[in-house]
Symmetry: C3
Amino acid sequence: MKLVTAVIKPHKWEEVREALAAAGVAGMTVTEASGYGQQKGHTEVYRGAEYDVSLVPKIRLEVVVDDADVDSVVSTITGSAQTGKIGDGKVWVIPVDSVVRVRTGETDEAAL
Amino acid sequence: MKLVTAVIKPHKWEEVREALAAAGVAGMTVTEASGYGQQKGHTEVYRGAEYDVSLVPKIRLEVVVDDADVDSVVSTITGSAQTGKIGDGKVWVIPVDSVVRVRTGETDEAAL
Amino acid sequence: MKLVTAVIKPHKWEEVREALAAAGVAGMTVTEASGYGQQKGHTEVYRGAEYDVSLVPKIRLEVVVDDADVDSVVSTITGSAQTGKIGDGKVWVIPVDSVVRVRTGETDEAAL
Ligand SMILES: Nc1ncnc2c1ncn2[C@@H]1O[C@H](COP(=O)(O)OP(=O)(O)OP(=O)(O)O)[C@@H](O)[C@H]1O
Ligand SMILES: Nc1ncnc2c1ncn2[C@@H]1O[C@H](COP(=O)(O)OP(=O)(O)OP(=O)(O)O)[C@@H](O)[C@H]1O
Ligand SMILES: Nc1ncnc2c1ncn2[C@@H]1O[C@H](COP(=O)(O)OP(=O)(O)OP(=O)(O)O)[C@@H](O)[C@H]1O
Ligand SMILES: [Mg+2]
Ligand SMILES: [Mg+2]
Ligand SMILES: [Mg+2]
């Protein structure tokens, strides 16, 4: 299994969520975050206000998936999160050793 | 070392914390999160209100542990977080290359 | 690539951010968190108030970096986050399989 983490623009969150649901993603975890990318020294506009780049609000998504689904989950996220402007986001993939569903104790692929 | 991440029901947080402390877990990091699992299309009840499943509030725990402690930490979390109802949570384990305690500069097992 | 996660004292965040920028770190993600370390049973002071150690507010940083930059990023964080008092923080390093820049679709080293 793999953990796909994506940091995206907040106003794209609904679109990403719908794209992932349409792609059959069974679960995800969402946290509010902020961050900056390579536009350091420039400003990024968020809801009409200019933010110091170190403080641009972002949504951070985590999706644990089967190895076979990584590529499609990553491209679903990048496709639906993209606006073409700086600050669109970053996605990274991390290896996962094991997964458990708390309710049932099922593990690994059966826990997804 | 391994990173154990758990996403649990907020009202189980105290119980999980006490179970982990009793099991000798030396530290953890907690973030507020939200998420959905496989009950998509159904609703999950949180504090008496029905939430769109994409928005159910959760607590996200991170515990960095020695390899030898992974199984007991995971089962302590699943045992204490379980209610038997949908949405009880998900736990996943990720490999960790190295750890540092900021105060002392100690590394790896000595930093836990 | 590697993911460096650091959990630090909130009042050290500005210093850490400046040290990382001076070291050429191109991006990072920040979340508000809380946590406890090994001082369990003792209390840690935050802004003049004593907190139950399970609730000390922390800042959680994530930085995805090239393998070649891991050591310098970790030592930049530990150097700038350190006060010498308990609760200074913990840093851990996790392997990353792949990275994508959402705007351009660039991958891996080119996406950093
Ligand atoms: N190296 C990194 N490590 C961790 N998080 C990052 C990193 N780079 C970017 N991020 C996160 O992703 C968010 C979006 O980054 P961003 O899209 O600005 O990346 P970028 O590389 O600067 O690309 P662009 O040139 O399109 O702006 C940032 O606000 C930050 O939260
Ligand atoms: N695949 C996943 N990736 C990341 N986070 C997940 C995933 N599945 C679930 N989660 C997180 O765990 C929380 C609890 O999930 P949940 O317990 O509903 O899992 P489930 O597989 O649907 O099991 P159940 O059938 O018991 O509801 C979700 O709200 C979400 O935050
Ligand atoms: N094992 C751990 N797993 C996950 N997060 C941890 C762990 N240990 C500490 N943390 C996080 O790092 C923060 C700071 O930890 P802290 O600096 O107190 O570590 P410590 O090992 O107790 O060192 P010190 O003796 O200097 O206090 C904690 O509040 C918690 O958020
Ligand atoms: Mg950018
Ligand atoms: Mg569910
Ligand atoms: Mg401590």
